[in-house]
């Protein structure tokens, strides 16, 4: 079968899979941002218990494999009485896994804000919450964006694993096509190109653009 025929025959399935992958990606990014922000801030708390809680989360997820986590969330968690639908189990696990990596980025970026900024905010008598929200986080955002862009690509790649708990994403559809046709080079090759286009020509440029916007906002340009 010529490649063009292959593409027209299976374009619907590639498209369906791609949409699911994008959905998984968007939701996983959201979960990762929330988890990274909360646990990154908790790591800087004065309370030892709060810090320890964050450390346990971070080390658990960074110390094990995403695939192990996925299977565990999908197959074992129901035994504890939490049954997650596979779509949900997919993006939640991917998000939590990369959120643990993001936590260190959050902490590092906050610590990179010069001490004088905290002090100036305190001298204006701002409350701790206002200092964080108005002064520190906006500046931390500028330093966290470049490494966060790399993390976004990792999250996109990580979503491919949800196929192994039967979420019908791009990876899953591609495997099905391969199983039906044995046209492995065409099937997997097409999927590789789709992932590549998203990572290289969508995620990365959007992050670069965000970096520029934020840098301009902070007046560093």
């Amino acid at each position: 079968m010529p490649y063009l025929d292959f593409l027209t025959t299976y374009s619907d399935r590639f498209l369906d899979g791609t949409l699911i992958t994008l959905g998984q990606f968007g939701l996983a990014v959201l979960v990762a941002i929330i988890a990274a922000l909360i646990s990154g801030l908790m790591k800087m708390s004065h309370s030892k218990t709060v810090r320890a809680t964050a450390t346990v989360y971070i080390e658990l997820f960074r110390g094990t494999s995403l695939l192990v986590q996925l299977y565990w969330f999908y197959f074992v968690l129901p035994l504890f009485g939490f049954t997650l639908e596979k779509f949900t189990a997919g993006f939640v696990t991917v998000g939590l896994c990369y959120g643990a990596y993001g936590a260190e980025l959050v902490r590092g970026s906050i610590q990179s804000v010069p001490k004088g900024q905290w002090e100036a905010a305190l001298a204006l008598n701002m409350s701790p919450a206002a200092r964080m929200r108005r002064i520190i986080l906006p500046q931390a955002l500028v330093t966290i964006l470049p490494p966060w862009g790399n993390l976004m690509v990792e999250i996109l790649k990580g979503t491919a694993l949800v196929a192994l708990i039967s979420v019908a994403d791009l990876m899953f559809e591609t495997r099905q096509i391969n199983n039906n046709t044995y046209l492995s080079a065409q099937a997997f090759g097409t999927a590789l190109v789709i992932y590549y286009i998203f990572a290289r020509f969508m995620v990365t440029p959007v992050m670069r653009w965000l970096e520029r916007v934020m840098a301009r906002k902070i007046g560093r340009m």
């Binding site: 192990v68 565990w72 035994l79 391969n178 492995s184 997997f188 990572a199």
Partner: protein, 223 residues
């Protein structure tokens, strides 16, 4: 609700521990491929040939931007289509090695670019050949700062080996899957696999951090 079966745990533990050996072999083998291939990628991008630099640069970007799982399938299934049959182990090690070679090449590149320009000029001044310059002057200086990054990717590879289960490499995940399917019990095998990974990767990561700190102190880079 939850009932952890101890006798079942004892029954499956030896199999899982044996499989953990395979996981370590896979990680070690993949890493070896990555370390060597990564160096090739890094050096290829420093040759005078612009075409070669461009091709390798794009290849590295491509490999880094696409899922390892997909690369594993690609390498395993595409060969037979063209009459080249790879064993699961061979395909797995090539895939994982290639993937991490892309990351390691960036680590090497960073290390090499950090060596001051004056070192190249001094090497030229005593008339060392390019190969001698790399071997005797540049790599010894580029390596120590790159070691922490290299160590982190070793842990990374270890944690990615479960993906090899999809093409039938009998590492931890694969073994846990078949135990689960045979007994209809997933709690113990998957939990134990998680614990084994923690038991390997946490101490390794800790050692790498300590090693990096000691190295920095030794090289006077302490912060």
């Amino acid at each position: 609700m939850l009932d952890w079966k101890l006798d079942f745990t004892w029954e499956i533990l030896p199999r899982l521990i044996a499989a953990a050996g395979n996981t370590l072999v896979a990680a070690g083998g993949g890493y070896l491929v990555a370390v060597v291939l990564g160096l090739v990628f890094a050096l290829a991008q420093r040759t005078p040939s612009r075409t070669l630099t461009f091709i390798v640069r794009e290849l590295v970007e491509f490999v880094r931007s696409t899922p390892l799982l997909l690369q594993i399938f690609f390498i395993y299934y595409v060969g037979p289509q063209f009459g080249l049959r790879l064993s699961p182990w061979a395909a797995g090690l090539i895939a994982i090695g290639l993937h991490y070679a892309a990351y390691l090449s960036e680590v090497y590149r960073g290390g090499i670019e950090n060596v001051p320009k004056g070192q190249w000029e001094a090497a030229r001044a005593i008339n060392l050949s390019t190969v001698q310059t790399y071997r005797r002057i540049i790599i010894p200086q580029a390596l120590p700062p790159a070691l922490a990054g290299m160590g982190n990717y070793l842990v990374g590879i270890l944690k990615d080996t479960p993906m090899l289960s999809v093409i039938g490499v009998a590492e931890l995940m694969h073994t846990a899957n078949s135990i689960g399917a045979d007994n209809f019990r997933y709690l113990e095998p998957y939990t134990i696999v998680g614990l084994i990974f923690l038991a390997i990767s946490l101490p390794t990561a800790w050692l790498i951090r300590r090693f990096d700190k000691a190295l920095r102190r030794k090289m006077g880079l302490t912060r």
